[in-house]
Symmetry: C2
Subunit: 456 residues, 2 copies
């Protein structure tokens, strides 16, 4: 097995060829949303598979209904080591609007310590930090863990082929821990580990009353109005303290540990400025909670859309036969999305007057990611990052959901360790996307340290 020092020295000694490899990948126009670039997506998948084969992985390009997956496996020389699955994606956003790029998006360049190209940060630069770390291990005696790699080509289009692929290849893809490199640092000198990610359960409800639209003069007062029923349901979802009223909704929602609470306080997140940036001033969530908690560690119920009756210009005296709403729940901790779906459906049914029926349409359910603070993997990763960057890494949360992480958690019961080296100003999805050279180089060194630390 490689000694970590040798691996890090190897990475430092091969910076130029590593950059050359990244540039080769960045030149491939693997735009997933535009079918004109489907061939380039295949080219990128083949390029990655070939490189992983070179590193001693058993790699293959797997077809899907959309762009192909790359799957690779490598066994450590040691026994009884952890098995990790690394996830990344080789597809990129379209480069439009082209005229805003100062140099062509698929001709990567380095200037003032930054790599500029479409995909430099999201996600080619990030995924190559991990592959370069694997290469350095290979050149220095072998990997310290069993490593599997899954690279998809549809992340930017919502990963449509992923759920079926996970289901069909569950056994092959299951490992002890998932590693994801699609997140960011806290700032340019402070690494971060995203330990909490909210889950998401989405339901559409369609409330139906009379068997046709009615005239509100002839029937108003006597016939049930589904908009009124729906409004009552949605209004009753929260109490006057901003808490969600579903039975047992907060089961599995934990208070922050003192350590995390202390860390978050130290981040000095400015909730007022956050709200002010979108024209608001008053936190709308649970009474007594900070804005930071509201978006990072507390669950929500939101109505994302509602429609019913006449919605054109002017007025129409219609009493509609149906009304519908799209409702989503952001979940945290150990909240069970399927149990909450059932509770929500029961809540809706309990609100229905005799003459109303309801139809439910599910738009997906994925649990939250919450890496236990006591997790040994987390402890070791924190130490590894501290050693590389010289500062204590910050444990952060994301209010949004990363569907792929939720899917792995839901279907393969795997937790994810989310470490990335992107920065807030990387302009991902925008013109002149960039990735810091320090992110790329110290990122690779960080993964070397993390793999070594995970092996113990």
């Amino acid at each position: 097995m490689a000694q970590l020092d040798d691996v890090l020295a190897k990475l430092d000694a091969t910076r130029q060829p590593a950059l050359d490899r990244l540039f080769e990948l960045l030149r491939i126009k693997s735009v997933s949303t535009d079918s004109a670039y489907a061939g380039e997506c295949v080219t990128a998948a083949n390029w990655l598979s070939r490189h992983l084969e070179d590193l001693g992985f058993t790699a293959s390009v797997r077809p899907t209904a959309g762009h192909p997956m790359v799957v690779a496996h490598s066994k450590s020389a040691r026994r009884d080591v952890p098995h990790v699955l690394f996830y990344g994606h080789y597809d990129v956003q379209p480069p439009d609007p082209l005229e805003l790029w100062t140099t062509p998006p698929f001709e990567p360049r380095i200037e003032e310590g930054r790599i500029t190209a479409r995909g430099a940060a999201d996600d080619k630069g990030q995924l190559m930090t991990f592959i370069e770390a694997c290469r350095a291990f290979r050149d220095s005696g072998g990997l310290p863990c069993d490593v599997s790699i899954l690279l998809e080509g549809e992340e930017e289009t919502g990963s449509p082929s992923l759920p079926a692929f996970l289901e069909a290849n569950a056994k092959e893809l299951t490992a002890d821990l998932m590693l994801v490199c699609d997140t960011g640092m806290y700032n340019k000198t402070t690494p971060a580990i995203t330990t909490m990610l909210r889950g998401l359960m989405m339901e559409e409800i369609i409330i139906k009353g009379a068997d046709r639209d009615l005239h509100s003069g002839s029937f108003g007062g006597a016939a049930i109005n589904p908009i009124r029923v729906l409004s009552r349901i949605l209004a009753d979802l929260h109490d006057d303290k901003g808490r969600v009223t579903l039975n047992n909704f907060y089961d599995g929602v934990d208070e922050l540990t003192p350590e995390v609470a202390e860390q978050w306080r130290n981040l000095k997140f400015d909730g007022e400025a956050f709200l002010r940036s979108v024209g608001l001033s008053v936190p709308a969530g649970e009474a007594g909670r900070s804005v930071q908690e509201m978006i990072w560690s507390r669950p929500t119920a939101e109505v994302n859309g509602i429609i019913g009756g006449y919605t054109g210009k002017g007025a129409k005296t219609v009493l509609p036969s149906e009304a519908s709403a799209k409702v989503s729940f952001r979940l945290v901790g150990r909240q069970n999305p399927l149990a909450i779906r059932e509770t929500f459906r029961a809540f809706v049914k309990d609100h229905l007057p005799a003459d109303c029926t309801v139809e439910f349409i599910s738009h997906g359910a994925a649990p939250a990611l919450q890496l236990p603070m006591t997790s040994e993997a987390l402890t070791r990763t924190r130490r590894a990052l501290q050693n590389e960057w010289g500062v204590e890494p910050v444990m952060i949360a994301m209010g949004g959901s990363i569907p792929i992480v939720g899917a792995f958690k839901r279907d393969l019961k795997m937790d994810a360790l989310m470490v990335g080296f992107g920065l807030a100003d990387d302009r991902i999805h925008s013109p002149n996307e960039k990735y810091e050279l320090t992110s790329f180089q110290k990122g690779a060194r960080s993964w070397a340290r993390i793999l070594s630390a995970l092996a113990g």
Copy 2:
């Protein structure tokens, strides 16, 4: 002045020429909604104006932004008689679908005691009952009342030109009482007077939160959701007994008089069958009220439309910046539409959290019509109808609103006496529209009796 018996005898003796005149009018294709027939609307207006001139009226065709109005005035030979304004409309619905007519819609015919043609009942046949009564008076010594007539050509398209016309000609059009012949009999042998008509106040409310649509992951929990605010407002509009919760909303809402309550009970209105006809079974209005009361004599608050956020297929994790609803109130008795508008606006504002604003768009306000049971005009009209039909006329209500009647009440402070001879099976707005010969002939006799009775 004419003796009533002479007038009635005249009507009976001139049945064929009266039918000939109606048929002339029915042949004019005065479809108001289709600009291809604008010329036919002018033809109909001219035809009516000329006929009224023949009857000794001072008549004119008045241009509007749309189809013209016909206005006519005739003075009684007597002094100190009531001044009535008769309202009718000469425009008709399009005859489509043409293939469902058994004979062409603008070629009137009589078969089995029925006049079949587009407009036979709505409203050419009905308005000609009044004009034929006036003709018979003219031929028998003169009108017993001062009579003004207003005939519009845009009733089937929502009377867009009427409010401005009323305002511009308020003095000329104001009379002691309005007579409207656009309603129906209780059944083929029982006449009816519509003494109650609900008013209507319509407001659109637009609730605004953040200054842009937000991502429900990044902001959900911390940022106010206008759909949630709107749902609470709409839900709180009713209490759990189905009553509207606005302050003082029921001011001016009277209980039925014992006489009307008794009459309504005798109508044996089948509320269950009424609801069953549209797939419902449980009255949705105020607890303890009958379906008949709910649609005839009680006020309502209804949401006619609602929209906000993402309403396409599937799901989108948006937290919208605004949501809107169209709300309408059916009003009864002496409820004040403008006071209720203010109360509603205050209610909405009281429900707004600090970060939300609201925009109101008014879509009109008209009070209810409620002819006092003690009204002398009503007493006389009841007796006149009883004399013609041999049965006591039924006092009925309409849950809907007739905008023109509301406009006269609101702008000219005139009550309306609504008597018509249509039947439920007249197929107005549908193929093979018909009007009973008895409706036409006894209708004209009824107006003769009513005018005579009103003159005292």
